[in-house]
């Protein structure tokens, strides 16, 4: 069934990828391109969160920890040692993986809401520590990144399209990893842990090990996003790098789209960022509370009426539309 679904969705994915590839050629407006870069980046962070939060249902609210570690590792390597962010981005990923081991060892003792709270605490502790590291990591003031002009080897580009393609590549990487995991033994183990941890343990799944492994992958990917983000905005401080909003948005886009699904985070990000862009054009950017007010209303609505996310709604509508003419809508299993 999975492969049937795959072949059915394949032309759509190809069309979407083609559209994403030609988009910067069609759209020249840097402001619009910036919105798309944000969509791709947050979709990617959502995909990284979804591996752990969606499939294994380990609902982390502290992914900003890895975003921040990625951002700081590459920036420190760049400014203190002149090392290219291309190396820094991988180093950041490795640092995040290393950090996920002790954090996971602590937090995985707890389940459900208290796991979420413990992950918030770890991200906050890291932020507070970086606020205190004055001589090593610039403390609360943060620092701007040196502008090297057009230096592709240092991950700095004149054209915004280059950043767009990099964000697109990250998202493609995240989706590919999710796709592979979803179809492997690991994917089934993860879903088993997510459904019922005790039952999974009882049938022989090493739940501690599987959670540790998926946390490593999720932390690594989130750190890549952190490096990309500071390279894109040329600025870093603890409040940006370890922003609670990053943790929240990672979870939010996945839940709104549909947790534990390949495309859920992408659907969620597109919806939320489109809403956010609309709100900004209506209200201007002056009203700090508008965007999150609307986000939280959407989140409450999704939880009460569509706890599986909006992606299920779309597949249902699509199937009803696509198969209505042939009159065999009932035969198609709805497993979106």
């Amino acid at each position: 069934m999975k492969s049937a679904r795959f072949t059915r969705s394949w032309p759509w994915v190809a069309a979407l990828a083609a559209a994403a590839l030609v988009l910067p050629i069609v759209v020249a407006d840097p402001f619009v391109l910036d919105i798309f870069i944000r969509v791709l980046l947050f979709a990617f962070i959502g995909v990284a969160w979804n591996l752990m939060g969606g499939y294994a249902k380990q609902l982390s609210l502290g992914h900003a920890a890895y975003f921040g570690l990625g951002a700081y590792t590459s920036t420190i390597l760049l400014i203190r040692f002149g090392i290219s962010p291309w190396i820094g981005i991988l180093a950041g990923g490795v640092v995040a993986m290393a950090a996920s081991l002790p954090i996971g060892a602590l937090c995985f003792r707890l389940r459900g809401p208290y796991f979420a709270i413990a992950t918030i605490a770890t991200a906050q502790v890291l932020m507070l520590l970086f606020l205190k590291f004055r001589d090593f990591a610039w403390g609360a003031e943060g620092t701007t990144l040196p502008n090297l002009g057009d230096a592709p080897l240092m991950m700095q580009f004149e054209s915004r399209a280059a950043y767009y393609y990099m964000a697109l590549a990250l998202l493609a990487l995240g989706l590919a990893i999710t796709y592979l995991i979803e179809r492997s033994w690991m994917g089934f183990y993860l879903v088993a842990v997510g459904e019922d941890e005790d039952a999974a343990e009882a049938v022989g799944v090493d739940t501690t090990k599987i959670k540790r492994h998926i946390y490593l992958i999720s932390a690594f990917l989130t750190a890549l996003a952190g490096t990309f983000y500071v390279e894109y905005i040329y600025f870093i401080d603890p409040n940006t790098a370890f922003s609670f909003n990053v943790s929240v948005e990672a979870a939010l886009v996945s839940i709104v789209g549909g947790i534990g699904t390949l495309w859920g985070p992408v659907v969620g990000t597109v919806l939320l960022e489109a809403t956010s862009a609309l709100l900004q054009s209506w209200f201007g950017s002056g009203h700090g509370g508008v965007q999150l007010t609307v986000y939280s209303l959407i989140l409450i609505a999704v939880i009460l009426w569509r706890p599986n996310g909006l992606i299920g709604l779309f597949t249902e509508l699509y199937q009803r539309f696509a198969y209505a003419g042939a009159g065999r809508a009932k035969e198609v299993p709805l497993d979106g």
Partner: protein, 289 residues
């Protein structure tokens, strides 16, 4: 040195009384309804704004406005339970966590839209008042807040042990199925539990107002502290939450005094992580999830 230490402990205990009101609410909801209320801090914030507007518009003393903020938030609690929480009780972890989380985001940002991010303070006759015992000094407003907080905790204890609905709540906390078999109506018990918990948060808000500024994100300070205290004091254990809250207040105050002004939160979080590492069931705990 000893006087500084004693002073830090006293300051910590006094603010710990406020933390206790918040964390008792969190642990009460967790014990009875089995939901972690991420929005508890925002109800403290609402209590603060109720007291602020009553004081600034009608000149009502914040301590007197306790009589309005508590019943108002009790009603809010009943409505939140009936229209929101009740609907996710049969669902999994994700909706249960993110419903109150979304509510917290919503209330914070609506407050930001309505009241702006400005700090609001209320000056009372006793806001600046303090008195000394030997080398130690007590701020009157904090002392009053602490005493009322402890009184309210005692009243809650009597309520849980002396009234039928209180006993029903404890029964539902111990074993929901058996409680239902004994004829306890869970919907009603849950509504009262959430109502009482929110009324305590409202009380904390009103008690804070004479010496603490109100702003839309103020709840985050208290809810984080409450979560740590609730874990430390063993989930669902009200006495545990009370003692742990006082400890948290003292730990924070000692951190500020001896490590640095911005280290209060680090101390608190490190305590949480140490608790998780060494005693995941809390200090008073037999059971955990």
């Amino acid at each position: 040195m000893l006087a500084t230490l004693a002073q830090a402990v006293i300051n910590g205990l006094l603010i710990g009384g406020i933390y206790a009101l918040v964390s008792i609410g969190v642990t009460l909801i967790f014990g009875v309804v089995k939901i972690v209320n991420f929005a508890q801090g925002e109800f403290v914030m609402i209590g603060m704004y109720i007291s602020f507007f009553l004081a600034s518009s009608f000149g009502v003393d914040p301590l007197l406005s306790l009589l309005i903020s508590m019943p108002a938030l009790f009603v809010v609690g009943v409505l939140v339970q009936h229209f929101l929480i009740r609907r996710v009780l049969a669902l999994g972890d994700m909706p249960q966590i993110f419903l109150t989380f979304a509510l917290s985001l919503l209330l914070m940002n609506v407050a930001l839209l309505l009241f702006t991010a400005n700090y609001r303070t209320v000056q009372t006759a006793y806001s600046e008042l303090s008195f000394h015992i030997g080398p130690l000094y007590f701020a009157a407003a904090k002392l009053i807040a602490f005493v009322i907080a402890m009184l309210l905790s005692a009243v809650l204890y009597l309520f849980l042990h002396g009234t039928d609905i209180g006993k029903a709540m404890r029964a539902a906390a111990q074993n929901r199925e058996v409680a239902m078999l004994m004829g306890i109506n869970p919907d009603r018990v849950f509504c009262v539990a959430v109502g009482v918990a929110l009324a305590l948060a409202g009380a904390a808000g009103s008690l804070l107002m004479p010496f603490y500024p109100a702003y839309p994100l103020v709840g985050q300070v208290f809810v984080l502290m409450a979560f740590v205290a609730v874990v430390l004091g063993t989930l669902g254990n009200i006495t545990g939450a009370l003692i742990a809250s006082l400890m948290m207040g003292v730990a924070e105050s000692l951190g500020v005094q001896f490590v640095g002004a911005d280290s209060g939160l680090i101390v608190v979080f490190v305590m949480l992580l140490l608790t998780l590492a060494l005693r995941p069931n809390g200090l008073f705990g037999g059971w955990a999830r």
